[in-house]
Amino acid sequence: MTMRIFVSRDAGAVAVGADEVALVLGLAAAKRGAEIEIIRTGSRGLYWLEPMVEVATPHGRIAFGPVTEFNANSVLDAMISGGPHPLRLGVADEIPWLKRQTRLTFARCGVIDPRSLEDYRAHDGYKGLARALTLTSDAILADVTASGLRGRGGAGFPTGIKWKTVAQTGADRKYIVCNADEGDSGTFADRMIMEGDPFVVIEGMTIAGIAVGAIKGYIYIRSEYPHAVEAMNAAISAAKRAGYLGASVGGSSHSFDLEVRVGAGAYVCGEETSLLESLEGRRGIVRAKPPLPAHKGLFGKPTVINNVLSFAAIPFILAGGAKAYADFGMGRSRGTMPIQLAGNVRYGGLFEVAFGITLGELVDDIGGGTFSGRPVRAVQVGGPLGAYFPRELFDTPFDYEAFAARDGLIGHGGIVVFDDSVDMSRQARFAMEFCAIESCGKCTPCRIGSTRGVETIDKIRAGERVPENIAVIEDLCNTMKFGSLCALGGFTPYPVMSALKHFREDFGAAPPRLQAAE
């Protein structure tokens, strides 16, 4: 009987040798005369175990990892004999790190072949669309609203309200836009789902189109993600061939088409209005709001613009899961959040879990502390615009409001771990520098403030009039926070001020009161 072996094709796995492992497995099997089929899946998200290889057995899929091209031969032997192997991890679904998760959005990621529409359908794919096609627009919107889903890009705006706003406009043309410009360092959930389960994004966008009456959608993917671009394009072609996209979606009277557009290396294009400008073929300059994209979005038409993970959550919700989804979470943060553990972390990867888990559990318990083995000093949550949290704040629950209450944000759910070798004034400087490089230039606080910020932090780091310059930074951050047009300038103060507040000792050696005595 043909042995079915699963090897990830996720860029994160490929980056650590998954292609070579697949090649060696194929050669080794041929040499042994063993009949095998290698299925390239997405990643399960247990990146410290990548390349992770699984084999189908009557007891479930048995995982091995991290496999290298040098030990792939012996792994294949263990797969054939069913015998022990030092890299044998047991049944994949039973690996505690995976078992502790609540995988709603990422249920299929790492399990199915992302190139196979049949595989997607065999794992509950397109059930959400099937049900949506039996509902009225109002009923779909009611489901999305009832699920409590909030925009997973970072802003956390209720998705149901956004869709309803677009549905209620009487425009001749509307658009669905998927923001796949996942530029935040420490985040990779969008990339993973696009590479590992692209049809779920397509299905979510199709449902959005039907709900609001749009017939055209765009997926704007950053150019740094070539694997995701390829995966989405392949999936769109497959969905078109099968009639899930096109003039008659799933045999219904609804028409919906999708197109991938590739960004060009501008971080600010992750901001929704800048992204729309870029899609229209212009410089990615932020627009002033109002008007909201829901009223005047792409090409001036009402537009639903959501993050990849928001769309990817929709099929589960529409397949009858609105209440089940809303039952997870805490406070006003309902459902699950795909959290990404990254940086100097022992067990890095994707951990989808209901809101409410504490930062400490995520970093120490699930992440296992640092990869370097040194103590955790700081974690940055929510990308380059997110705050740095010290250990004293590790009791913060993962929840939009709880993080906001502590001058932070959960953003797109990325957590970057730093050990005690980090210099926090340097990280604060980087935040300002990054803002200066990526600023679109439209508003002054962001354009000029970031450059002055770099200069001022340099002075502090050089020990020049430290208390006065810290006062300048505080004032500058205040101006940027309240005076910037979008989150780039507006949120850069989060990493800067949090570094200053929680790690004051890294900003000039002399305590302020001694300076005042001169």
Partner: protein, 158 residues
């Protein structure tokens, strides 16, 4: 990857532009296509794009210069991009970037004198759980350490 680029040719440029003019908001798509063919966006192509899309030359120039990806001149034969964002910084990326700079004798954002290697910073490849990471001519590499970065640099120099 630029090793396979065609030399600039106005007729070929016009052909590439014409393939995409029917798209909504085609400017970025066309600039990407031109760069893919020629390895950079040649200056003479800018007025051609403008005229094809009924835009001013300044508008197209503005788009071209806004985005980090678009090149004004050909890159070296190999392009090595090192991720310089926070997750890679936390995993020791700063020291590895300095090492690559020293090995190549150039700073980030430059090309070696023999035109073999262009070394560039990139802000996040989304390989943050296998950091530090890099991309050599479109191939991604993670879990970089000194040995692996040395091997990458050596490969790029070949």
């Amino acid at each position: 990857m630029t090793a396979f680029s065609e030399p600039w040719n106005a007729a070929r440029g016009a052909e590439i532009i014409a393939e995409h003019t029917h798209l909504e908001g085609a400017t970025l798509v066309i600039l990407h296509a031109l760069q893919e063919a020629f390895g950079y966006v040649p200056e003479p192509a800018i007025p051609m794009v403008a005229s094809a899309l009924n835009l001013s030359r300044a508008e197209v120039h503005g788009v071209f210069t806004f985005y980090h990806d678009f090149r004004h001149e050909p890159a070296g034969r190999h392009v090595l991009k090192l991720c310089r964002a926070e997750a890679c910084q936390a995993a020791g990326g700063d020291a590895l970037a300095a090492r690559a700079e020293a090995k190549l004798g150039i700073s980030l954002g430059n090309t070696t004198a023999d035109d073999r290697v262009t070394l560039e910073p990139i802000y996040c490849l989304g390989l943050c759980a296998t950091a530090p990471s890099a991309m050599l001519d479109g191939r991604v590499v993670g879990r970089l350490n000194e040995a692996r970065i040395d091997a990458l640099v050596a490969e790029a120099q070949r």
